[in-house]
């Protein structure tokens, strides 16, 4: 659903199967030069996100934002945001809001990405 909405907004979405380990997500973010990582959280998966955040930063991807969607209790949300997650989408979030937020983050990532030339 979300992937299709982002596509319809003109974005390129790389879809992966569930249960990726952290190293694999970091590798994918590097290989594909992504701007935003979206984590779909089932049950308590989102508790792994701060670790992912660390790994992403360690790989030198300072410009990449991470967002989380799913059932996330208020206390957990605070922890995620404190760890550097850009936004948490709860069930019932409107597609329009998601698309707006993601394109805003993607644009920011593009301007902050290091110029390697």
């Amino acid at each position: 659903m979300v992937a299709a909405a982002l596509r319809d907004a003109g974005m390129e979405v790389i879809y992966t199967p569930p249960w990726q380990d952290i190293a694999a997500v970091v590798r994918l973010a590097q290989d594909e030069d992504v701007d935003v990582i979206g984590i779909s959280s089932l049950a308590t998966d989102h508790l792994l996100v701060p670790k992912l955040m660390n790994a992403v930063r360690q790989a030198g991807l300072q410009h990449v934002s991470i967002i989380v969607g799913g059932i996330v209790p208020e206390q957990d949300e605070k922890e995620l945001l404190a760890a550097g997650v850009s936004h948490v989408f709860h069930p019932g979030s409107s597609m329009q809001d998601i698309v707006l937020k993601v394109s805003e983050l993607a644009r920011a990532a593009r301007t902050q990405a290091p110029n390697i030339l």
Binding site: A3, A4, L6, R7, D8, A9, G10, M11, E12, V13, I14, Y15, T16, P17, Q20, A23, A24, R27, L28, Q30, D31, E32, D33, A59, G60, L61, A113, P114, I116, L117
Partner: protein, 312 residues
């Protein structure tokens, strides 16, 4: 002094590879700058293209091929091109899903690219991306594309070895003859041969080859069952055999392909210029066509004659 990008690319640094490929894909001033930098360091890697209709099993086959090449100690880079939405230009790129078992392998680099709705621009962008990968000196560069539409067929002019994948009993045999896809194939794969009546498809394809423009060129037909890893070894053998013989003659890219790419590039630049430029004669021709005084064929001839006389 070697630029740090070149050093990083030659060391296969993942972050640099990812970023530079984006720059190459996006084109423009930055891409020209990048290509200028890396030009002296482009290696002679062999590029293999996989094409075929949607659902013929290209991604699964590719996954098997990566594993086979890795077993033989070769490093592999993959470019997977997915179609983009003609309406928004966006895309969901899912080919990577079928190759996820290679995700943590340092000697495998996979990059998904979208066709970005452009008919002409795609092949130019991909050509630049291939140049970047050639600096990293991968043993094998594999390119997967949906084998439909002119843009994708154009992309096949960028590869040294073209593998056409089809599935039996889908009517592809006849379609293949019609679309001319056989003419570009160096190796033909009939995948999903467990789905019965391969006996019909294989001879049909072999027969179809006799209708080719150049029937002396031998095109092997390899039956595979990608989901069971069957036939993959043979396919890898055929690809390597071809890459070695191309390497021996010191000429991966053949002249005709380069000529076609060049002609297409020039045509595209001309089209842009003719469409946007203020030009009295073009305006007059348009008016004449509008008033049915000329048809488009006649107008083209008038323009070309005029152009030829200008050049003399």
């Amino acid at each position: 002094m070697q630029h740090r990008i070149v050093t990083a690319l030659r060391a296969c640094d993942r972050g640099t590879l990812g970023r530079t490929i984006s720059i190459a894909e996006n084109g423009g001033e930055q891409a020209s700058q990048l290509l200028q930098l890396i030009k002296p360091f482009i290696c002679e890697s062999c590029v293999t293209g996989l094409t075929g209709p949607p659902g013929s099993g290209k991604s699964t086959l590719l996954d098997g091929l990566i594993a086979e090449f890795r077993r033989r100690g070769l490093s592999v880079a993959v470019i997977a091109i997915d179609p983009s939405s003609p309406f928004s230009g966006g895309a969901v790129l899912g080919d990577r899903c079928r190759m996820s078992r290679h995700q943590s392998d340092d000697k495998v680099y996979i990059r998904s690219l979208s066709a970005r709705g452009s008919v002409g621009g795609l092949s130019l962008g991909i050509a630049r991306v291939i140049d970047v990968l050639k600096v990293s000196n991968f043993d094998m560069i594999l390119l997967e594309t949906v084998g439909t539409g002119q843009a994708e067929v154009d992309v096949m002019d960028l590869v040294d070895i073209c593998v056409v994948v089809c599935a039996p009993n889908t009517g592809d045999e006849v379609q293949a003859i019609k679309s001319g896809i056989l003419e570009i194939a160096d190796i033909l794969v009939v995948n999903k041969t467990d789905l019965s009546d391969t006996n019909g498809t294989l001879p049909q394809l072999k027969m179809a080859q006799h209708l080719r423009r150049n029937p002396t060129r031998q095109v092997p037909v390899v039956p595979t069952i990608a989901t069971e890893d069957k036939g993959i070894e043979k396919l890898a053998d055929e690809i390597l055999k071809r890459s070695q013989s191309a390497g021996n003659t010191g000429q991966y890219e053949d002249h005709a392909k380069i000529r076609r790419r060049l002609a297409r590039g020039i045509a595209r630049a001309l089209e842009e210029r003719l469409f946007n430029q203020d030009n009295e004669m073009l305006d007059q021709l348009c008016t004449s066509i509008q008033r049915h005084k000329l048809n488009v064929d006649e107008a083209i001839r008038i323009w070309l004659d005029k152009d030829a006389s200008r050049q003399q």
